[in-house]
């Protein structure tokens, strides 16, 4: 991967292209290694043609304190299947052999990265074509740990902004960030509640007053209709728990993938992608 094409540049390019098309991005979250390496790789590699404009690939962790039951279970399945951070990076390398345009960011918790060694991790991540990181338990107060070295490496460090991030704190949260801003639409864990659209719209407007970065919205989006509604308000809609649930619905009692799992998940992505693509065509009169 050459500097200047990957990393933050790839994310910027994708959002700029979508802005020209006047549509939002569908950002698809899936957990690396769930339910096993081969199935997860097939899912990952199928995401772009199913309509995902960007990919968040989860790094599984034993103690995901901001995640709801669906993503907790997904992470535990991935760990049980032997997923390690090395394997996550291998999956990205495979993905990049077929796709050099779709931004891919890793999302997870700090400890697996800390155990790997932050510097070694950043070199490896950049090398395989990771474009950015979302690390849930690294707020701006801990920027020296990983955020600053990530930016130096030319990768994005994507920050979560939440309903509790008030006006006085926003500049701190939006500083040292790049790529896009991830607005967490609810106070709560992933997959918990359906966000209140009018609140999301005003929150996105609030963020836009503080940053020129694209704003993607996630936590609680489940249906194509909800994705479309978010896509009218924001630059991206992130869907995670609803995709991961397609895995739990298509494995047997031993955790083995049933035939059709990959198709079931990618069909769900297609539905969401259609919702996002149609969102602004049929924009209701305001």
């Amino acid at each position: 991967m050459t500097t200047g094409t990957g990393g933050t540049a790839r994310i910027e390019r994708r959002f700029a292209r979508l802005a020209l098309d006047d549509r939002a991005a569908l950002v698809a979250y899936v957990m690396a290694g769930d339910p096993n390496r081969d199935t997860a790789n097939a899912i990952l590699e199928g995401l772009p043609s199913a309509g995902a404009d960007a990919v968040e690939l989860g790094i599984p962790f034993t103690d995901p304190m901001a995640d709801g039951p669906a993503i907790q279970a997904s992470g535990l399945r991935a760990l049980k299947a032997g997923t390690t951070l090395d394997r996550v990076l291998d999956s990205v390398a495979r993905f990049r052999r077929r796709d050099s345009d779709t931004p891919l960011v890793l999302m997870g918790y700090y400890n697996p990265i800390y155990a790997f060694g932050p510097d070694r991790f950043l070199r490896a991540a950049k090398d395989v074509g990771v474009d950015g990181l979302i690390v849930v338990d690294l707020p701006p107060e801990e920027d020296a740990e990983l955020c600053l070295p990530t930016l130096e490496a030319g990768l994005s460090f994507i920050r979560l902004a939440t309903p509790t991030t008030d006006e006085s704190r926003l500049p701190r949260v939006l500083g040292n960030t790049s790529g896009f801003v991830y607005y967490v639409s609810i106070t709560g864990i992933t997959g918990a509640a359906i966000p209140d659209l009018s609140l999301v719209t005003s929150a996105v407007e609030r963020l836009k007053r503080h940053t020129s970065l694209p704003v993607a919205v996630g936590f609680g989006i489940k249906t194509p209709e909800q994705a479309a509604a978010i896509a009218r308000a924001a630059d991206g809609a992130v869907v995670g728990s609803a995709l991961v649930t397609a895995i739990s619905e298509n494995i047997d009692a031993d955790g083995k993938a049933r035939p059709g799992l990959v198709d079931a998940l990618l069909t769900r992505v297609q539905g969401l992608a259609d919702g996002v693509r149609r969102a602004r065509e049929a924009e209701p009169a305001s």
């Binding site: 962790f61 034993t62 103690d63 995901p64 304190m65 901001a66 995640d67 709801g68 039951p69 907790q72 535990l76 760990l79 390690t84 951070l85 918790y109 700090y110 400890n111 697996p112 990265i113 800390y114 155990a115 790997f116 849930v136 338990d137 690294l138 707020p139 107060e141 801990e142 920050r159 979560l160 902004a161 939440t162 309903p163 509790t164 991030t165 008030d166 704190r169 949260v173 967490v184 106070t187 709560g188 864990i189 918990a192």
Partner: protein, 403 residues
């Protein structure tokens, strides 16, 4: 490592004790813990707050707890003079009440209307449910399903106190998972809820705040030992899970040169079996539950399940100040196995008429190890941080006795 001028100045403004501690939480919680830090800072310097805290400690918890010369144990072991700081005599049966009184007064001051807590052995859950009842707050306690199974008496006590006990069935179903679940609750109910963390861990300011509330143990012990012996002790011993009773005893003595300070970790079935809870002896630094500290984890940074016969020590981490005290060498940490703790548990009942909790039975096992080799004028002060009523079923089971 450089030796600091004082061991009592931490944490710094970032909530760090050396490299440990910090604020590793999701953004949703960050404004809350900053608010908590500011509110606690103001309360700490408010004489009215301190006066009310002291009053509840005295009239509700029953402080000061006695410092007791364990004469028969001293004779039995035939060496050092052994003192127990009797925090098992507090209301609710352990040191946990010290911290809960402080935090509930802060919750009320901050205008919060709901309490959540995590618990392992149930001692902290009982203490949190107790103060919630006393101050009229609804209280939800998260407890691992495995711990609920082995600590039934405390589960029933919490329910009698009006708390809702939520079984946690995620992960390893013990204390660490209860803490994850409490954090998930907090992240969801940000406006109403005060999270009473039970130990000197979690994001800043919890390690500092819980230590401050528990330091009443060490402050009293200092005065009491000087009244009894005319001098400070030679050795302090306390068990460490998360490490709150130990931090409370140790902190007021950290700058007294020459006092040996020993924390006792649960070695479970033995360090080399892998089934233990000795994060300082066998773990390495990492980040969990909002702080950087020593953790039991695998090569890939996944948290490993802890094991101890004592549910209160069954945690794969340790408070960050202990991690720093270990690295600086100011305190030493030693492992004690389930079997050694069981032996100490039984001896204490027979010789002193005190049935200790399994947690301080670990500390006592270390006292039994060192006391015989120390001279007769050597003063050992051990924190008897909880009573053993809750543990009799576990101990009976371990000894193969049916009750």
């Amino acid at each position: 490592m450089e030796i600091p001028n004082t061991y009592r100045a931490g944490p710094d403004e970032e909530g760090r004790f050396g490299v440990y501690g910090g604020r590793f939480v999701a953004e949703t919680l960050m404004p809350l813990i900053l608010d908590l830090e500011a509110s606690y800072g103001a309360a700490r310097n408010d004489p009215d707050f301190q006066a009310e805290l002291a009053s509840f400690n005295k009239h509700y918890a029953g402080r000061p707890s006695p410092l007791y010369f364990a004469e028969r144990l001293t004779e039995h072991l035939g060496g050092a003079r052994i003192y127990f700081k009797r925090d098992e005599l507090n209301h609710t049966g352990s040191h946990k009440i010290n911290n809960c009184i402080g935090q509930i007064l802060l919750a009320r001051r901050m205008g919060k209307t709901r309490i959540i807590a995590e618990t392992g052995a149930g001692q902290h859950g009982v203490a949190a449910a107790t103060v919630a009842a006393r101050f009229g707050f609804p209280c939800t306690v998260y407890m691992g399903a495995v711990d609920i199974e082995r600590q039934q008496p405390n589960v029933f006590r919490m329910k009698l106190l009006g708390a809702e006990v939520v079984p946690v069935i995620s992960g390893s179903r013990t204390l660490k998972d209860a803490m994850n679940e409490a954090l998930r609750d907090w992240v969801t109910n940000v406006d109403s809820t005060f999270y009473i963390i039970g130990t000197v861990a979690g994001p800043h300011p919890y390690p500092e705040m819980v230590r401050d509330f528990q330091s009443v143990i060490g402050v009293e012990a200092r005065e009491q030992i000087q009244a009894a012996e005319g001098r400070l002790p030679d050795t302090l011993v306390a068990c460490v899970g998360g490490g709150s009773n130990a931090m409370g005893l140790f902190h007021p003595f950290l700058d007294d040169d020459g006092i040996e300070i020993v924390g006792v970790e649960a070695a479970g079935r033995g360090i080399d079996t892998g089934e233990h809870a000795a994060s300082l002896a066998a773990g390495r630094p990492g980040v969990l539950h909002g702080n950087k500290t020593y953790l039991l984890q695998d090569e890939d940074g996944q948290i490993v399940e802890a094991h101890s016969i004592s549910a209160g020590l069954d945690y794969p981490g340790i408070g960050p100040e202990h991690a720093w005290l270990k690295d600086t060498g100011r305190a030493t940490y030693v492992p004690v196995t389930d079997d050694e703790a069981l032996e100490a548990f039984q001896l204490c009942g027979r010789v002193e008429g005190i049935i200790p909790a399994l947690e301080p039975a670990h500390a006592l096992a270390h006292v039994m190890r060192i006391a015989p080799d120390r001279p007769a004028d050597h003063l050992v002060l051990m924190n008897m941080c909880g009573r053993g009523d809750k543990d009799i079923f576990t101990v009976a089971d371990a000894l193969g006795v049916e009750i």
